[in-house]
């Protein structure tokens, strides 16, 4: 099974360990993983700002990079959702459509495609789960507090396979952290306040780490935690699933 690793631009530049963990984890689970070197970005920063009409070049580049793999896997719910919903390229619509159907966020790929039921990872810490909105409400990685439907969570199912981990949830289990792409600067006051409130609930739970499927949310919360000189750290789910503490 040939997997094209799609690494969001900010992960590439600022959180390489997340991409490394993702790659190692997938390889461990038997995938052949390639990282197309010419990839740049899913185009979401432009589209969420209202500029999807100038993102054709970016989209085309994405299709050029990821045609020819069996699956595209990405350690970010938000970027995955963007590709799934909005990847269109004039003249290459068939390829684009194929990618839209092949693209998976890491945890849904592990559960739905690889059908993982155990892991060798261990992570003896208390971990708060942050439910990133695009993964949850967009990709349906987990049930949502607003809906009257059976409860489930793909990220949680995976984390529960990790030895030694203690999971805990904030009181408002799936409230947005306030990152929101460019929202975080154009609506700085609300964004920061939302982040502070999210972080506080995890602090109240005395967690060691906050984890989630989206490094962007975690980056935002990390920024707040660091400013507050908090002891709580953030960690991407891939790093936990690939972790070995003894």
């Amino acid at each position: 099974m040939k997997v094209g690793l799609f690494v969001p631009c900010y992960v590439d530049q600022f959180y390489p360990n997340v991409a490394i963990a993702t790659m190692q984890l997938l390889e461990k689970l038997g995938c052949e993983v390639v990282f197309p070197l010419e990839q740049t970005c899913c185009g979401q920063p432009m589209a969420n700002s209202g500029f999807s009409h100038i993102s054709e070049g970016c989209n085309k580049n994405f299709v050029d990079n990821f045609s020819g793999v069996d699956y595209v896997v990405c350690p970010s719910g938000s970027c995955t959702l963007h590709i799934k919903d909005h990847l269109h390229v004039e003249g290459k619509e068939a390829e684009a459509e194929k990618i839209r159907k092949q693209v998976y966020e890491l945890s849904e790929f592990l559960i739905d495609v690889l059908k993982i039921d155990h892991l060798t990872a261990s992570f003896p810490f208390k971990v708060g789960i942050h439910s990133s909105c695009h993964g949850q409400r967009g990709l349906h990685l987990s049930s949502m507090s607003e809906r009257v439907l059976p409860a489930f969570s793909k990220p949680e199912t995976l984390l529960n396979m990790v030895k030694g981990i203690t999971l805990c949830k904030p009181q408002r289990v799936d409230e947005c952290c306030g990152f929101g792409g460019t929202f975080c600067v154009f609506e700085e006051a609300v964004s920061a306040k939302m982040g502070k409130d999210r972080v506080q609930e995890h602090e109240d739970n005395h967690v060691d780490y906050i984890t989630g499927v989206d490094m962007s949310c975690l980056m935002h919360m990390e920024g707040i935690l660091k400013r507050q000189h908090s002891k709580v750290k953030v960690i991407h789910i891939a790093e936990i699933l690939n972790a070995h503490f003894n």
């Binding site: 600022f14 432009m46 700002s49 100038i54 070049g57 607003e146 809906r147």
Partner: protein, 457 residues
């Protein structure tokens, strides 16, 4: 957007008082949790939402016929039907009815449509004494403010604020902040108004095409007190309030109050078909941009809205920025998709007042794809050039780099310069709003790409 204060600026002013922001957030979150509890008592909740959505979609696809049918049946019931293309015409019609009745004091129960049309302002200019009778609306009316929420108009105010206002206007004891005491004072004050008023204006929650009747829902009983005491009833409705049949009320009334406040139903669900003997009933049907919104395939769904307010209560941005930050009669997520239809320039900021978290679409009892429409409005507004040139240039630069991998890699290699195009990573502490409340991520020794080239190739 130019010349006025944008949502983000108003939000920043709101948040400057952090304890009050926390209080506002908690109060509305409490309403959201009540809604959750109520929804979970109904096994078929999601089926109800789907059905409500379907009925509304069907109605919109046949709105012309239903409006005609409604009018015919209402006329046959002895109701006078008026049509208004816009706010000005609506206000003029209402005023002419009041004038004809020879009255200068009226009572009005809650109607977001009349807020949208700025009816109060207009009538007061014409010398009419308008008394809002919903408690929350009366409070904001005394304070010369606008409602900050479509269901909970005074939700931005604390007991002390209300106490001060009532002390000034109703002579209640200074600093008595007991809600029962304050509500009772308003009850006595407004009972006199009901009894003295010969014209009552109400909104409309649902208009039934097959019977020509309207349904009005309240908890306080103020709509009924007003209407039944008055000689003339004027009901103002946006034309999207239509539903085909009375049996459909079963679906909508099961959803409305549960979504709004977590009650199983409002205290009063009043069905008006004919005026009582000797009285008059008027219905004013208003377009005010609705037919235009109906023509926008991406946005027509917003006309399904039954104004329950659930999307406000769940919205993490609304809860932390307050209704007034939306500078529009209808605030919150739904307001942000209705407002640009009315005035793109003035409201170009509103679709950006969201993280697109999607919680609004999940609570919406008629399944409006609110967050998707927010996204789509952004595309329309920026394409039309309402973003300003700075944003335009920045985005174009970003698009250029991201579509040229070689330049992108070079930029990345040159100390992550590409991140200049990601505004939240713009590495300049004095200019970057990110840095106000957050640290920057620490740059690692090498990027993933560099690691991959070193280790995997």
């Amino acid at each position: 957007m130019q010349g006025t204060t944008t949502h983000s600026e108003k939000a920043a002013q709101f948040i400057a008082n952090e304890p009050r922001t926390d209080w506002h957030d908690d109060t509305l979150w409490f309403v959201r949790t009540k809604r959750d509890r109520a929804a979970h008592t109904i096994e078929a909740w999601e089926g109800l939402r789907a059905t409500a959505s379907h009925i509304k979609e069907h109605t919109l696809s046949n709105l012309h016929d239903y409006l005609t049918q409604f009018e015919q049946n209402a006329l046959a019931n002895g109701v006078q039907v008026h049509w208004a293309a816009d706010a000005a015409e609506h206000n003029a019609i209402v005023h002419s009815i009041i004038k004809k009745a020879g009255i200068d004091k009226i009572v009005k129960s809650k109607s977001m449509l009349t807020e949208e049309c700025h009816l109060n302002e207009y009538l007061i200019q014409q010398g009419i004494d308008v008394v809002d009778t919903d408690l929350g609306e009366r409070i904001v009316q005394f304070r010369h403010e606008l409602p900050s929420h479509i269901v909970l108009p005074a939700i931005h105010l604390k007991k002390q604020d209300v106490s001060d206002t009532f002390h000034e206007h109703l002579g209640t004891e200074k600093d008595n902040i007991d809600p029962s005491y304050l509500t009772h004072a308003a009850r006595l004050h407004l009972r006199d108004k009901f009894i003295a008023s010969d014209v009552a204006i109400t909104g409309v929650n649902f208009a039934i095409a097959e019977t020509g009747g309207i349904v009005v829902c309240t908890n306080e009983g103020n709509a009924d007190m007003g209407v039944h005491a008055a000689r003339v009833h004027i009901a103002c409705m946006g034309m999207e309030k239509m539903i085909p049949k009375a049996e459909h009320l079963g679906v909508f009334l099961r959803l409305l109050a549960r979504s709004a406040t977590g009650q199983p139903i409002t205290t009063y669900s009043s069905h008006f078909h004919k005026p009582r003997k000797g009285a008059e009933m008027h219905i004013v049907i208003v377009d005010n941009g609705r037919s235009r919104q109906l023509g926008r395939a991406d946005f027509r769904n917003s006309l399904k809205c039954i104004r329950c307010g659930a999307c406000f209560n769940t919205c993490p941005v609304y809860r932390r920025s307050g209704g007034h930050s939306y500078h529009n009669a209808v605030a919150g997520p739904i307001g942000s998709i209705l407002a640009p239809n009315i005035d793109m320039r003035k409201n170009a900021d509103l679709p950006f007042a969201s993280t697109l978290c999607g919680s609004c679409s999940n609570v919406c009892p008629v399944k409006i794809d609110i967050h998707d429409q927010l996204w789509k409005w952004r595309q329309v507004l920026m394409k039309e050039g309402y973003g300003g040139s700075g944003k335009n240039i920045m985005m174009k630069g970003m698009a250029f780099v991201l579509s040229h991998p070689r330049i992108y890699r070079m930029a990345g290699g040159m100390g992550r310069k590409v991140m200049r195009w990601m505004p939240w990573l713009f590495n300049n502490k004095s200019l970057n709003p990110w840095y106000k409340n957050r640290e920057m991520p620490a740059p690692p020794k090498q990027s993933f790409r560099e690691w991959y080239q070193q280790n995997k190739q």
